[in-house]
Amino acid sequence: MADTAPATTTSPTSGVVSRPVSEALLNEKWDRCFSNLIIKSSLGLGFGVVFSVLLFKRRAWPAFVGVGFGAGRAYEECNSSLKQAAKEIRKQA
C-alpha cells in the first residue's frame, strides 16, 4: 500500500509541466483511475498470494480478498478525486 503514494504524486507533476487542455481534464482523471486500479489490485493480489502460501495452505480466497481490497481502495480514491474536482468547479462558478 505504501508504494501507491509516489505513483499518485508523480502523475500530477507531469500534468503541471504541460498543462492539459480543458476538454482533456476528465479523460486524464479516468486514465489515472484506471492505472490506479490496476496497480492496487495487483498489489492486493500479490499480498493475497503470499499470505495464502504462507499462512493458509495455498487456499484461493486470500488472493481474492487481496484483489478486492486493492480494487476497493482504487475506486475510493477515484471517487474522492472526482468529487474534489466537482467541488472546485462549483467554487469557481
Binding site: 480543458s22 476538454e23 468547479i89 469557481q92
Partner: protein, 677 residues
C-alpha cells in the same frame, strides 16, 4: 288558604262567564261554588228574595225602611290546608268498573260456594259504588283528580257535572233560574224589584241593591237615578231666584265701571277699579248661607230678605266723594254680612242720598270754577297776539331799509373793481405783442445759420466718401491675398492627414490580411506596432489595441476552421459529461459516459436548456460563421460541461476581441478620412 285563593282566582279568571256556552259556564260556576265553600246556603236569603216582589204598600218617601243588609261576600275556604290531601287518593277503587264479572254462568253445585259467590259480588258492587262515590267527591276538591276522573272513569264526568250543577243551583237560585229559565222560556215570570231599589230622593243608599251584580239590578239603579234628577228639578226653582238676585248685584258695578271708562280720567279709573274689585268681593262674601228649600217633611220657611245694594255714585271722580262712597260701601258690606239689612236699610238709604247730593254739589262748584278760568285764559291769549303782531311789523320795516342801503354800496364797489381790471388787461396785451415779434426775429436768424452749416458739412462728406472708397478697395485686396496664403497652408495639412489616414487604412488592412490568410496561428505583433506608430497618438486606436489580450498578438489567434475542429472534440467530451449530477462520483461518471452514447442527437437550432441542445445550437452558429452567438451559447453551460469547454471558450473570446478591436480601428480610420474631406 293561599292555595284555595289561587284556585278560586283561576276558576274565576279562566273563562269569561258570559261568553262561554251554557254547559261549560255552569260547570265553572259550580267549581267556583266548590271553591268558595258551603257558606252560601241560600236558605237564609229566601225570605229576602220573597220580599223583593214589588211591595205595593211601601211609599217612596218612607225613611224608616231599613236598607237591605249588604250581601256577605267574604269567601272562606271550607277545606283547610290540614284537611286538604297532599296527594290524590289512589284511583284504585274508582277504576274498578261497576259491571260485575261474568262469573254467574258457572253454576256451582255446592251451596257454600254459591253463598261465597254472592258475598263476593255484593262486596264488589259495594266497593265499586264506594269508590265511584269517593272519586266524585274528591274530584270536586282536587282539580287534577277531577280531570283524571272525568276523563277515564265511565260516567264519571256526568256524575260530577250533575253534582256540581246541583250545588250551583242551591247556591245561586237566581242565576240558576235565569240560566235555566232562558231555556225554559219563562217570559211570564214577573221581574221583582226590591223595596229599596225604587225611585227615591236619597242618594247614599242606592247601591246596596246592585251588589248581586246582575244586569237586572243595574237597570234598576239607572232608573232610580233618573227619578232622583226629576225630584231635584222640582226642588230647584226657589234657590234659582236667589242666585238671579246675586247675579244682578254683580252686574251693577260692571255698568259703573263702563261709565268711568267713558270719562277718561285715568286716576279716577284706577281707583274705581279698586272699588269695583272690592264691591263684588263684598257681594259674594255677604252671600248668606245657601238657602235650602224645605223638604217635604220639614216646616216651610220664608226666604231671607235680599241684602242692601252697595252704593254707587255716577261721576264720582273726586277724591273726597270716592272716599265717602268707599266708607259707606264698607258699612253696607258689614251690614250685609251681618244679615241685619232689614234693620239698617232706612238709615243707609238716607246716607246714600246724602252722599250722592254732596257729590253733585262738588261737581257743580267745580264746573263754575272751570268756566271762569277759561274766560281769563282767552283774554290773555288775545292781548299776547296783538303785541306779537306789532313787533313783527316793526322788525320787517327795519330789515327792508338795511337791505336797500347794502345793495347800493355793493354796486358802487363792483363798478370800481371793473375799471381797475380793464386797465391791467390793456397793459399786458401790449407787452405780449412786443415779446412775440422779438421771438420771431430770433428764429429767423437761427435758421440762416443752420443752413450755412449744413452746406459746409455736405461738401465735406462728399470729399471723404471719394477718398474712403479707394482705400477700402486696397484693403480688401490685401485680405484676399492673406486668405489665399492660408488656403495653401491648409491644403498642405489636408494632404498630410490624407496621407496619414491612407497609411492607417493600409496598416489595418495588413493586420487583417495577416490574420486571415494564415493557416496556422501566427503572431501579428509587427503589424500591430506599425499600426500604432501610424496612428500616432490617436486615443481611440490606442484603447482598441490595449483591449486586445497580449497573448493574442504574441502567439497569434486560431482560425475559424481550427476553432470548429476543436469544437468537435470539445463537444464529444462535454456530451460524455452531460448527464452528470451535482456531486458526481465514479459510478455517476461511468453511467453518464455510457448513457451519453445512447442519446439521440439534435439538429439545427434546438430549443431547450439541456447540454445537448446547447451544443447543437453552438454547432449551428459555428457553421454559419457566427462566432459571437456561439460563444454566448457555450457560456450558458455549467458545471463539468463548462469546465471542459473553458479553453475553447477563451480561444473564441480572443478571436472575438481581436476582431472587435480591428473593427473599431477601421471605423476610426474611416472617420478620419471623412473629417478631412
Amino acid at each position: 288558604m293561599l292555595r284555595t285563593s289561587i284556585r278560586s282566582v283561576r276558576a274565576l279568571g279562566s273563562r269569561p262567564a258570559a261568553a262561554v256556552a251554557g254547559r261549560q259556564w255552569q260547570a265553572s260556576a259550580a267549581r267556583r261554588a266548590v271553591v268558595s265553600g258551603q257558606r252560601f246556603y241560600a236558605d237564609d236569603k229566601k225570605p229576602l228574595v220573597d220580599e223583593a216582589r214589588l211591595p205595593a204598600a211601601e211609599t217612596l218617601t218612607a225613611p224608616t225602611t231599613p236598607p237591605p243588609p249588604p250581601p256577605q261576600t267574604t269567601p272562606a275556604a271550607t277545606i283547610t290546608p290540614e284537611q286538604a290531601p297532599l296527594t290524590p287518593p289512589a284511583p284504585g277503587p274508582a277504576v274498578v268498573p261497576p259491571p260485575p264479572p261474568p262469573v254467574a254462568p258457572i253454576v256451582p253445585k255446592k251451596k257454600g260456594f254459591f253463598r261465597r259467590l254472592r258475598n263476593f259480588l255484593l262486596k264488589l258492587v259495594l266497593l265499586g259504588v264506594l269508590g265511584f262515590g269517593g272519586g266524585v267527591w274528591y274530584s270536586r276538591i282536587n282539580d287534577n283528580f277531577h280531570d283524571f276522573f272525568t276523563q277515564y272513569v265511565p260516567y264519571g264526568e256526568e256524575a260530577v257535572l250533575y253534582l256540581e250543577e246541583l250545588d250551583f243551583r242551591k247556591r245561586f237560585p237566581n242565576v240558576a233560574n235565569r240560566v235555566t229559565g232562558r231555556r225554559a222560556d219563562t217570559a211570564s215570570e214577573q221581574v221583582s224589584i226590591p223595596a229599596q231599589s225604587g225611585a227615591s230622593w236619597r242618594v247614599a243608599d242606592g247601591d246596596h241593591a246592585g251588589r248581586q251584580s246582575s244586569g237586572v239590578a243595574q237597570k234598576v239603579v239607572a232608573a232610580k237615578d233618573a227619578v232622583k234628577d226629576t225630584v231635584k228639578d222640582i226642588v230647584k226653582p226657589e234657590p234659582a231666584a236667589v242666585t238671579k238676585a246675586k247675579k244682578e248685584t254683580a252686574a251693577l258695578p260692571k255698568v259703573e265701571a263702563k261709565d268711568a271708562a267713558l270719562e277718561k280720567k285715568v286716576k279716577g279709573v284706577e281707583e274705581k277699579k279698586e272699588e269695583v274689585a272690592v264691591i263684588p268681593a263684598a257681594a259674594t262674601s255677604s252671600k248668606p248661607k245657601e238657602f235650602r228649600a224645605p223638604d217635604v217633611n220639614e216646616p216651610s220657611v220664608w226666604p231671607p230678605a235680599s241684602p242692601i245694594d252697595p252704593l254707587s255714585v255716577p261721576h264720582a271722580d273726586d277724591a273726597i266723594v270716592q272716599q265717602l262712597v268707599h266708607m259707606l260701601n264698607d258699612i253696607i258690606t258689614v251690614i250685609n254680612y251681618d244679615g241685619a239689612a232689614d234693620k239698617y236699610s232706612q238709615t243707609i238709604w238716607k246716607a246714600k242720598d246724602e252722599v250722592s247730593k254732596v257729590g253733585e254739589r262738588i261737581l257743580s262748584i267745580k264746573s263754575a270754577a272751570e268756566e271762569e278760568a277759561a274766560k281769563q285764559v282767552k283774554a290773555r291769549i288775545d292781548s299776547f297776539d296783538k303785541h306779537a303782531n306789532d313787533l313783527v311789523s316793526r322788525l320787517e320795516a327795519i330789515m327792508l331799509a338795511q337791505e336797500q342801503q347794502w345793495r347800493q354800496e355793493f354796486e358802487a364797489e363792483v363798478e370800481r373793481l371793473k375799471h381797475n381790471y380793464d386797465d391791467k388787461i390793456k397793459l399786458i396785451q401790449e407787452r405780449e405783442q412786443k415779446l412775440s415779434e422779438q421771438k420771431l426775429q430770433n428764429k429767423l436768424l437761427e435758421q440762416a445759420v443752420e443752413l450755412q452749416r449744413q452746406f459746409s458739412r455736405d461738401i465735406k462728406k462728399h470729399v471723404e466718401e471719394e477718398r474712403e472708397g479707394r482705400l477700402g478697395r486696397i484693403e480688401s485686396l490685401s485680405r484676399a491675398v492673406s486668405e489665399l496664403e492660408k488656403l495653401t497652408t491648409g491644403l498642405n495639412e489636408v494632404v498630410d492627414t490624407n496621407l496619414r489616414t491612407q497609411q492607417l487604412h493600409v496598416a489595418v488592412e495588413a493586420v487583417r490580411a495577416s490574420l486571415e490568410d494564415a493557416h496556422h496561428p501566427r503572431p501579428f505583433i509587427k503589424e500591430l506596432v506599425a499600426l500604432k506608430e501610424i496612428a500616432a497618438d490617436d486615443p481611440v486606436v490606442d484603447a482598441a489595441i490595449a483591449s486586445i489580450h497580449p497573448s493574442a498578438y504574441q502567439r497569434g489567434i486560431s482560425t475559424s476552421a481550427e476553432l470548429i475542429d476543436r469544437f468537435r472534440r470539445v463537444a464529444a467530451e462535454v456530451r460524455k459529461a452531460s448527464l452528470l449530477p451535482e456531486d458526481a462520483g465514479v459510478a455517476s461518471h461511468a453511467s453518464s459516459y455510457l448513457l451519453s452514447k445512447v442519446m439521440f442527437k439534435k439538429q439545427g437550432l434546438a430549443a431547450g436548456d439541456d447540454v445537448e441542445s446547447i451544443l447543437t445550437r453552438t454547432q449551428t452558429f459555428l457553421e454559419e460563421g457566427d462566432l459571437d452567438n456561439a460563444a454566448r451559447e457555450m457560456n450558458t453551460l455549467g458545471g463539468w460541461a463548462k469546465t471542459l469547454s473553458r479553453d475553447w471558450l477563451s480561444e473564441v473570446r480572443k478571436v472575438l476581441e481581436v476582431q472587435q478591436a480591428l473593427d473599431v480601428i477601421t471605423t476610426e480610420a474611416r472617420l478620419q478620412s471623412l473629417k478631412v474631406e
